[in-house]
């Protein structure tokens, strides 16, 4: 599964994307796995309230199942316009 990071999530983790092997059932499970990896992940995912997630380029939420999903992206609230 491709996992993408944007804005300060990307900066804290130190990379824009990576391929992750996971059996996580939901986004929240994936976040728990990532948090457990290294302090920089724990720092990036410290407050999931401050984060948004997109599954295959559609905004989703942390309870969403990951089955069939190919691309997960984590980022802070958008500030476009």
């Amino acid at each position: 599964m491709d996992v993408l990071y944007f804005a300060w999530v990307r900066e804290r983790i130190g990379l824009p994307r990576e391929t992750v092997e996971t059996n996580a059932a939901t986004v929240a499970d994936l976040v728990d796995e990532l948090r457990a990896r290294e302090p920089r992940y724990a720092a990036a995912f410290a407050e999931t309230d401050a984060l948004r997630v997109a599954l295959d380029q559609e905004l989703s939420d942390f309870d969403a199942p990951l089955s069939g999903v190919r691309e997960v992206a984590f980022f802070p609230p958008m500030t476009g316009g």
Binding site: L4, F6, A7, W8, R10, A54, Q57, E58, L59, A73, F75, P76, P77, M78, T79, G80, G81
Partner: protein, 147 residues
């Protein structure tokens, strides 16, 4: 409907004229242009805009499609830049054409409210003291509730 996501500058007046020309017979054309503002007191060196290629175009197309379902519109234009911009440069532009002014205004405001909080763009302000990500404003999130 035209959606453009690009790093290059664009010319708002020329874009507006071309858009209005294409929507001839519409009666009402509304445009919104967003410009990089300096910070209070000055000192903004650059506004860096990051985006999520692929999702950006897709989410804008979806937002524009919703606007076209909801209001009677002849055409919609959205241009949004990314990369490093200086104060005074155009960030983005939305244009709507409709038979009646109410539709053109409401659709333009709807598009702006969604672009602010739902299209995957993130802004970072660069000053002599460093760089900070712009925080999302509750006000922008609240603006969505009226639609």
């Amino acid at each position: 409907m035209r959606i453009v996501v690009q790093q290059e500058p664009f010319k708002p007046g020329a874009e507006m004229d071309a858009f209005a020309e294409g929507a001839a017979g519409s009666g009402a054309v509304v445009t919104f242009t967003g410009i990089v503002r300096d910070m209070p007191g000055g000192g903004l060196q650059a506004m860096q805009i990051e985006h999520y290629p692929g999702m950006t175009e897709r989410s804008i197309a979806e937002i524009a499609g919703q606007a076209r379902e909801r209001w009677s519109l002849a055409d919609v234009l959205v241009i949004h830049r990314h990369g490093s911009l200086r104060p005074g440069e155009q960030i983005m532009m939305v244009a709507t054409a409709a038979p009646h002014r109410k539709d053109a205004f409401e659709a333009a405001e709807f598009l702006m409210d969604y672009l602010k909080s739902r299209a995957p763009f993130w802004k970072k302000e660069v000053t002599a003291d460093g760089a900070d990500w712009v925080a999302a404003r509750d006000e922008d999130e609240d603006a969505l509730s009226r639609w």
